[in-house]
């Protein structure tokens, strides 16, 4: 087990299985089909993202460097949370970008779904974490990876 320390963007504790995007995560492209077809397991529909394409994103610990793409990214995360198809938590190796921050904060305040979010976990975190690993977010931005 290894422990990483990041910065809390949206507080909360959760344990979930890791899903890892090693490239910028395109929020709209990834959630588009899930939202369209109301697929609650949210299979990733971004065919440019070989790491997670077609893999379910809902209730996973989504590990990523940052998000990219359309400025609708924040709303898309909010909509995914509202319909119960959002990841269990978001874990950023870099500083969170404004679109993802908006999505995470909107989900926290405007929906009943909690999506704890930690950023600045460092490249070492992204290098270490592998799909399927068990991840626990503890208080104060501590992330345990089993």
């Amino acid at each position: 087990m290894r422990e990483f320390k990041g910065r809390v963007v949206v507080p909360g504790t959760v344990t979930a299985t890791a899903l890892v995007s090693r490239q910028g995560f395109n929020t709209l492209a990834s959630f588009k089909k899930a939202l369209l077809a109301k697929k609650l397991d949210a299979p990733c529909s971004d065919q440019d993202n070989k790491d997670i394409y077609e893999k379910p994103m809902a209730k996973k610990a989504l590990c990523l460097p940052k998000t990219i793409g359309s400025t609708t990214g924040g709303i898309v995360l909010y909509c995914a949370s509202e319909m119960g198809a959002s990841p269990a938590c978001l874990l950023f190796s870099e500083s969170i970008d404004s679109l993802a921050a908006a999505g995470a904060i909107l989900s926290d305040i405007w929906t009943s779904t909690s999506m704890p979010t930690v950023d600045r976990l460092g490249q070492e975190f992204l290098d270490y974490v592998k799909e399927g690993m068990r991840i626990t977010i503890k208080e104060n931005g501590i992330v345990e990876v089993d």
Binding site: L35, I75, Y78, S98, A101, L106
Partner: protein, 424 residues
Amino acid sequence: MYLDKEQTDILNGSQGDTMAKIMKTLVMYGETFEADKLIPITSEEGHLVTSFGINVMDPYYEMFESLLQAGVKSKQSFTVDPSPMDMGNVPASPIQKLVFKILYKNQKRYDDQLKRMGIKGEDMYTCTCYMDEVGNIPDYGDILSWAESSAVVYANSVLGARCNRNSAIIEMFGSIIGYVPNFGLTTDEGRKATWIIDINADKLPEAQVLGSAIGLKVMEDVPYIRGLDKFLGNDLTQEVKDYLKDMGAATASNGAVGLYHVEGITPEAKKLNDALIAKDAKTYLIDEKELLRVQESYPCIWKDPKAKPKLAFIGCPHLSLLQLKDWSNKIDAELRSRGREKVSVPTVLTSSVPVINEFKKTEEYQILISTGAKLSYICPLMYLSNPLCSKMPIITNSNKLRTYTTAKYYRDDQLLDILGKEIG
């Protein structure tokens, strides 16, 4: 983050639960980016990026409705990005039209919500809200709560206003509360350039390729561009503003640039010169070879890369009145030089309704119509969100459209050549 008494009271519910939640959202958002305080919005009007009633975002329209039901309204009127549909002017098959209707099933509902929230007018759907005919033009130093990357980068750079690259909803929350968090591009420090772009070219670079090269290199940083005044002069004429509009849109979409300075041209660069350049700024040299390398790096993602184009879009971001006139004359001249009358590819020029209305009063309007090209207020990006449309081989001179869709990019001269020649 410091909050004054009024802001603290709102957070504590003095104006109701909904306003408290909106304030809480802005405070959390500001604290994430280490804002020191909330600062008042000083621009007369806002600008929202979400113009479309797309069926994948039902919860967004539900939230919008709940805000309206709670009696919340924007403190400032606002313009909105372009409409996603224009059935009358943009070619679409019956099946494509049907998909549009399904895809944008929330459009009427959302248009009505925008009206109730405070949109400036029914014709105020455009990404170039800062055109004279539209009239959402912030003053130098104004604090804005806008979204739409191309409009934000224009307002920051060409007008000298101050605005961060906001997410949708966040920009509306700012306009409702009347404040935005102070960080990044609203601060003096955040407006300093961390890149110097030296342009060493024989002729004025194509705006859309230059912007792309800069965006791909600096990503979200602030560039200080040297060497453009040699070609553009020092005055912000409409022609120069149009060039910067197109260049800026490419920096914002190919990268994530929210502000650029152009030596001798943009207002802050004129006022502060080199003092705008941060210590240890990196340098990127752009010459003809580099511009060519960047353009040749664009992938063609058409199923058949050699397919005959079925549609051409000119005007992402929306064209100015001067650009509409200029394109009309250029297309006409190209056709005449080849002894042809009509464009060889269905062509749509896009602009805002107020600009189109002015354009219709000019002689160039008749010239354009005689070439077979059409005018529309649509957002070409939204057109290509229709999966049946995105499968078509569509060409454009917009680097933003190329970045976000399957459209293939051509420089202006290349596009004119295609529109003018016989396609067998």
